[in-house]
Amino acid sequence: MADELGQRVLSLGMELLGPYAALRAGSPEARLRGEIEHQYQTAWGHTLAGGTSEIQRTTIAVRALGLPAEPRGR
């Protein structure tokens, strides 16, 4: 779930850069070598790949905290 923190940090970065935020690496006027733009675009895959954040939370709730599991599919 550290990837959710990454998404928050990159969203804030985009906000701070204002109209410069969307400029890609190599564009005139790009800030921070376009790094924030690139990382922002990739960030939304990180909470999906290798088990979504929802799956991770269910794992914590059931395995670590001992809560009852959701009923299985019909």
């Binding site: 998404q7 969203s11 985009m14 906000e15 204002g18 109209p19 410069y20 935020a21 969307a22 400029l23 890609r24 190599g26 564009s27 005139p28 006027e29 790009a30 733009e37 675009q41 939304w44 895959g45 909470t47 999906l48 790949a49 979504t52 954040s53 929802e54 939370r57 269910t58 959701e70 299985r72 599919g73 019909r74």
Partner: protein, 368 residues
Amino acid sequence: MDLAFSPAQTLLQQSARTFLLQRCPPERVQELALDRRGFAADLWKEIAALGWPGLLIAPEHGGSGASLADALALMEELGRACFPGPFVPSAVVAATALGLAGGRRAHGLLAGLATGSRICTLALLEGPGRLAPEAMTLPIAAPGRLTGRKLFVPDAHAATDLIVVGHASAGPAVLLLPMGRPGIIARPLDSMTGDKLFELSFADVEIGPDDLLAQPGRAWAVLGPALRAGALARCAEMAGAAQRVLELCVEHARVRVQGGRPIGSHQAIQHACADLYRDVESARWLTWEAEWALASGRPDADATVAAAKAHGAEAALRVARRGHQIMGAIGYSEEHPLHLLHKRILAASQDMGDAALHLETLARAIGL
């Protein structure tokens, strides 16, 4: 406050949706986004035939003299389709400013905008990237010579005319120039949103007294309402795009089966979809409330526009971002329209003043 659509507005939305589904599908939007100099001249011609660029132009100048509400109804559909190109700068902001400015040159340009033969872009932002009078300091003298630069000028490659905002000795000043005036140099920027943005340099450009769009002291009387209309147009665009994200997510949650049941039967996904719904509805109704406040001349109209743009930006971005989480891997592929909607929302959230700027306006309006 009656916010129900008129039959004409409903018809406009329906016909726009049908047209855009056929002529501006996601594949076309993606193709234009990837083309660094892309401009859909054919689409612009077709929307001109439908009268869209002339909606806010008075009938005596060739437009249909429609209301801002009509234009916002259309903007929701343009947002839904991720329609690319200079509709907001040219058909909303420039058309409004030119109508308020009046005069022979403004009227001549309005007639061209209405037929689609001309397009007017806006040179507003400078280094600080803030849409505020004190951050637009390009020195203007008319008659005189113009030297300096502007950033994030949309569709300078497609525009025939240009509104330039700067500062003269008497305060804010606004020029109307042909793009072809010697000394105006456009350099493309590369934006991930697919918008075609440019740096414009003015190298000793000759300025005559006729180039002033508004007389000294009147610049903001012309620009203020035009920028407010532009901000609301972006709000409606974001609301339309966010509504589409919600629909895609709900449909996906209904049909995508994981572990033997639709993912939408899990509360984690149900609550996420409910949050999307809340954000879409609140963004949309704040926009229409602001339109109503403007149209009825309420004293708090400025504050309602600022609230709509600040909230709309944050809410629509939340929708796009959460939408990725609901859609999963399919929404993360280039073949799926979600990334186009996300980019459209991102671009609209920053154009015509970002959330921070509008929150400042709101803070002042409530006496802070």
